[in-house]
């Protein structure tokens, strides 16, 4: 039996509630949450979808660390499992947090290929070598779960901070050999709420469930942005 201590929120007050869950080998935290919802407390609210670590819905703080509930084994966590919503997000109910702002920031960096010869009527095949793919491949794996944003100290104090996930998406496209929209994205990235607010706490890279290395992406984006600005300043 494992005790689950869940931080609940009903719209007005926050409180803890405990449940005893019969944990079997192979059981994930997500399965335990479904068990609690089906057997003890049907009002427990949480987001989940694919159950296999690809949709990014079930990211939450489990024993103080942000993880995907569907990828966390209950029996590795000890006798008591503390479950809380992600930090740095506004809690709507129980473990569900506001994600609109997170997605807005992602949209703001123009996360799509920008090309001058965009023509839907006559689509063109864009060739790319494996080497060119390797330049940005790892940054394509982001599932927008929000774990990185929840541990970022800049995101904790600056509400409008773009955040590691959005800037990783920005870099993913800037580094894509098929893209021609770098200048636009550099301008967005170098806004006051962008790359300059990162100070390399690097916790984001530590908690990313897909090992996307957002801290590295932000550094690379920062360098490219800085040199692009300085080059245009010197008229090169």
């Amino acid at each position: 039996m494992v005790r689950f201590k869940i931080r609940r929120y009903d719209g007005e007050k926050s409180y803890w509630q405990s449940f005893e869950v019969p944990a079997k080998k192979g059981m994930t935290v997500l399965e335990a949450l479904y068990y609690i919802k089906e057997n003890y407390e049907s009002s427990l609210a949480f987001r989940a979808s694919c159950r296999m670590g690809i949709c990014g819905s079930c990211a939450m703080k489990i024993n103080d660390r942000p993880r995907l509930a569907c990828e966390t084994q209950v029996l590795t966590l000890g006798d008591t499992v503390k479950v809380e919503p992600l930090d740095n997000f506004k809690v709507i109910k129980d473990l569900i947090t506001e994600f609109d702002g997170f997605f807005e920031k992602h949209k703001a960096v123009k996360p799509y290929l920008i090309r001058k010869d965009d023509n839907y009527a006559e689509p063109k095949e864009l060739l790319q070598t494996p080497e060119e793919l390797n330049e940005y491949y790892i940054f394509t794996l982001c599932i927008k779960c929000g774990a990185c944003y929840s541990v970022c100290p800049a995101a904790a104090t600056l509400d409008e901070y773009l955040g590691p996930a959005a800037m990783t998406a920005a870099y993913r496209f800037c580094a894509d050999s098929r893209d021609e929209g770098q200048k636009e994205r550099y301008e967005i990235a170098s806004s006051p709420n962008g790359v300059w607010r990162c100070h390399l706490a690097m916790e984001c890279s530590e908690v990313c469930p897909k090992n996307v290395e957002p801290a590295k992406a932000v550094q690379l984006l920062r360098r490219k942005t800085a040199f692009s600005i300085l080059k245009s300043l010197l008229g090169w």
């Binding site: 660390r65 100290p153 904790a156 690097m202 530590e206 550094q219 690379l220 920062r222």
Partner: protein, 124 residues
């Protein structure tokens, strides 16, 4: 979440400790800079009396503990800062974990050595 978000360590890695200490030591050193500049005004007294009386208090056994703490702040900030500069230039990002441990050890070793020299100079 506010500034308390800069001081969360439960469930976080060593990297968060390094970040917070870099900030803390930075602020301490800024305050020290202002104090240092003010303290140096005593040199304007060309007889040297004001300066010597300040030195008598601050370069003494009683003050050694503050000196040692200050040196810890300075050494940690500098060594950790160097690690951060390396990563910001894109160097050795893949080795960030070993680098963090190595640089923390270097900071502690340098600090212990400097503290020992200061201690022996006050007749320890």
């Amino acid at each position: 979440m506010g500034v308390s978000g800069w001081f969360k360590f439960k469930g976080r890695s060593l990297f968060s400790w390094a970040f917070t200490f870099q900030r803390l030591t930075g602020v301490v050193l800024l305050i020290y800079l202002l104090a240092h500049l003010t303290y140096l005004s005593s040199l304007l007294d060309k007889t040297g009396a004001t300066y010597e009386s300040m030195i008598a208090i601050t370069v003494s056994r009683q003050f050694l503990v503050f000196d040692i703490l200050l040196v810890l702040c300075g050494v940690f900030h500098g060594v950790n800062g160097f690690r951060i500069i390396l990563h910001e230039f894109g160097i050795a990002y893949e080795y960030r974990k070993p680098l963090l441990v190595i640089f923390t050890v270097i900071a502690v070793v340098v600090w212990l050595y400097a503290s020992y020299v200061m201690y022996s100079l006050v007749g320890g």
